[in-house]
């Protein structure tokens, strides 16, 4: 999409009734959109899996070995609550959580120079890479995580 076209798409999603002061606020926030993000992360455990939840204990087979890993639930439906009637086209996968420190370590092991590492990590932290999500450290999570959305894992039969 061309920048002008994209700008028009964004504009069309903004409320038309904003006052000048509010427009200025939005403008300012948009210019700095990659710097300021308010993440809404609930530390409270839930009993039922929902889209975007982080869970531990996802089982995957790896060379006949069963790994139980942490991951984030992804689905093509926002309605995956098991209490609701099942939909035939509903798919659920999960994206294992990778600590950002592990990504950093991998770049370092590949002998990337400091500048290259900084650039790549910066892109991830600013959510500018479309298939790599970034979860900042917060009260609910002690470290930074980067689920790789590009290749999620399925639920293997054990």
């Amino acid at each position: 999409m061309e920048p002008d076209e994209l700008a028009e798409v964004i504009r069309s999603h903004l409320p038309a009734y904003l006052s000048e002061a509010d427009y200025n606020k939005v403008t300012e926030q948009l210019k700095r959109f990659s710097e300021f993000r308010d993440y809404y992360i609930l530390p409270a455990p839930t009993e039922k899996a929902l889209q975007g939840d982080g869970w531990a204990g996802f089982a995957i087979k790896d060379d006949n070995e069963i790994l139980k890993v942490r991951g984030m639930i992804l689905s093509n439906s926002c309605d995956i609550n098991p209490d609701n009637p099942s939909r035939p086209d509903r798919n659920v996968v999960f994206s294992p959580l990778i600590p950002l420190s592990a990504v950093l370590e991998r770049f370092s092991e590949a002998r990337y120079n400091k500048e290259k590492i900084r650039q790549n990590i910066d892109l991830i932290r600013k959510q500018l890479v479309s298939d790599i999500f970034f979860l900042p450290a917060s009260a609910a999570m002690d470290v930074e995580w980067t689920p790789l959305f590009g290749q999620p894992e399925g639920f293997d039969k054990l």
Binding site: A7, E20, V69, A110, L148
Partner: protein, 263 residues
């Protein structure tokens, strides 16, 4: 010229008794039809209404005094009093910037109406939908009566901006739009801030009440800067270089399971 004089003479001629009877019938019919005048339209073209009174206060804190005094009369209908951001300016700044003197600093809000008060301005606003003139007018009159009782300003003083002896100027605006048309949406854009508690601006009211229908300068500037900002953001998002290095991407996805965290 002579024809005009003749017509004028005719108009001024006293009515005959028959003429008076006819006039009385017409007046009676008019009165009867007034009572049948609809008070509310099915599709109300009025989308907002504001009544504004500008005055010259006797002291910079007159509006605060007014608020306290009219609250006695209007507090039951307007129980919530909010301080608007404009009130945070130092009084010296407000006194040196004329525009700020017409910005409301306090907003009294009730179920249906609002009264905004600034150093030199009082405005009566109503929440949407516009409840109709038969409700709005009595409320404005109530506010004026209460204001008059304060004896701080005289809201009924004749209006003439040119005379310094006169204390008040009344401005009444009915902002209208046509539902479903571009005009409506354009007006909506400008009207909604009027009822917002933070961006009501008497100066914009003047511009918007103009039948010219032009955009207020400030709003145009805002839209312009918004477009520029959006273009900037869009360019940033569309830039092809926003991605990991190709080899970095491969490095991450290859043997990614080694980075998973086991419990």
């Amino acid at each position: 010229m002579s024809a005009r004089k003749t017509q004028s003479t005719k108009r001024k001629a006293p009515l005959s008794s028959k003429g008076r009877e006819k006039l009385a019938k017409v007046a009676a019919r008019a009165t009867a039809s007034d009572s049948r005048t609809p008070t509310r339209l099915g599709r109300v073209p009025i989308i907002d209404v504001a009544f504004e009174l500008r005055f010259e206060p006797s002291s910079p804190s007159a509006s605060d005094l007014i608020l306290g005094m009219i609250f006695k009369d209007l507090g039951t209908d307007l129980p919530n009093v909010a301080t608007l951001p404009q009130a945070s300016f130092p009084i010296e700044v407000i006194q040196s910037v004329p525009q700020l003197q017409y910005q409301p600093q306090r907003l009294m809000t009730g179920e249906q109406f609002q009264v905004a008060l600034g150093p030199k301005v009082l405005a009566v606003l109503c929440k949407r939908p516009y409840p109709g003139w038969n409700l709005f007018k009595p409320f404005v009159l109530r506010v004026l009566k209460s204001l008059s009782a304060t004896a701080i300003i005289d809201p009924y003083a004749p209006t003439a901006v040119s005379s310094r002896e006169l204390k008040g100027s009344v401005l009444l605006m009915l902002l209208t739009g046509v539902a479903g048309s571009n005009l409506y949406s354009e007006r909506m854009t400008h009207v909604i801030p009027l009822v917002s508690d933070t961006s009501y601006s008497p100066l914009r009211l003047h511009v918007r009440s103009s039948s010219q229908g032009g955009l207020p300068t400030s709003a145009r500037t805002g839209n312009q800067s918004m477009r520029e900002a959006l273009s900037e953001v869009a360019s940033m998002l569309s830039a092809s270089e926003i991605d990991l290095d190709a080899d970095a991407r491969k490095l991450l996805y290859r043997n990614r399971r080694a980075m998973y965290v086991s419990d």
